[in-house]
Amino acid sequence: MTPMNRRLFPVLAGLSAFFLMTAPIVIIRAPYESTMGLVQKIFYFHFPAWMAMFLAVFVLGIASVQYLFRGKAAADRLAVAAAELAVVFGLMGLITGPLWGIKAWGVWWQWDARLTMAVILELILVAYLLLRQYGGAGSDRLAAGVGIFAMANVPFLYVSTEIWRTVHPRTSVVPTLPVDFGLPLWWSFAGFIVLCMALLAARAKLEEQRAALDRLYLALEED
């Protein structure tokens, strides 16, 4: 795992840096949206940030199931990494969202179904990290339970704009995008997903080193 990680991280980091650095060029060339104008271009970071968060939450949920039902220690380390990343990407989404909203809606924040669910998911993930930090021995299993609940929220979050007509654009906007909008979106999307994987590899590596350190301390104390 570790040597592969070592080779994987530079590749992923380089790829994501390439995509994210060239993204502004592609985004600037994209046409303006008819009702929202220039500010709609925030969409090209906002949507991918949330998708990267969903990816992290799914990794968290699946790793939690693996750890809880199969007892795989590696899955638990991956879960911590994924939870932290989900918070980070969620933060990106929560910051870029209001910057878009203040121009498109005239307000920074609106308690509609989508935004409420997004905040709830972010809160659950922060609570997960708090539990891991302060729960003491055995909190890893409990945290895995919370991780599964966090994953269960994602489908609701995704469809929330389809069930309610809210001020937020519907998720079904994305697959129907014209090519001019689609290219910069998927360009940026690729950048975010690869960035998420790179950070995941780096963060999981940190957790592995911590586990190795714990093992060494145990070996030191044994005799």
């Binding site: 994210l20 502004p24 046409p31 303006y32 949206e33 008819s34 009702t35 929202m36 104008g37 220039l38 500010v39 709609q40 271009k41 925030i42 969409f43 970071f45 906002h46 940030a49 980070v88 933060l91 990106m92 910051i95 870029t96 910057l99 878009w100 203040i102 121009k103 498109a104 809606w105 704009t161 069930i163 309610w164 007509r165 001020v167 937020h168 654009p169 519907r170 079904s172 906007v173 129907t176 995008l177 014209p178 001019d180 909008f181 960035l195 950070l199 780096a202 963060r203 590596k205 940190l206 080193q209 911590r210 190795a212 350190l213 060494l216 301390y217 070996a219 030191l220």
Partner: protein, 112 residues
């Protein structure tokens, strides 16, 4: 403390329990169908929710106020990503230094 394992009788009980789990999943599906029906007729709104439409001309008054917002969003994404990478790097450095230190102590003790 690994004493809490299920016995055979309870395994059987647990498998019977699977029936109830299926039932619960059925409930979920049923409720989802119910929700689709109950979808409230809420007022239609205007601001580009069902699709984004390209626009030919850029009204000049639209460019100025939006540009800083777009720039701020892009900067925020970069700042968070780089900042987070930096914290990982810092933590990794600390752990690896400690790891090397402890490994040396283990080596010293085994050598002596």
């Amino acid at each position: 403390m690994g004493i809490l394992r299920l016995g055979g009788a309870s395994r059987r009980a647990a498998s019977r329990w699977g029936v109830l789990r299926v039932l619960a999943l059925g409930l979920v599906v049923g409720a989802a169908a119910g929700m689709a029906v109950a979808e409230a007729a809420q007022p239609a709104t205007t601001a580009a929710q069902d699709g984004f439409v390209p626009m030919g001309d850029i009204p000049p008054e639209d460019q100025m106020p939006a540009a800083p917002l777009v720039a701020a969003a892009y900067a925020a994404v970069w700042a968070i990503a780089v900042g987070y990478l930096w914290t990982i790097w810092q933590r990794l450095g600390t752990v690896e230094a400690e790891l090397a230190d402890v490994a040396r102590r283990v080596g010293d003790r085994d050598g002596a």
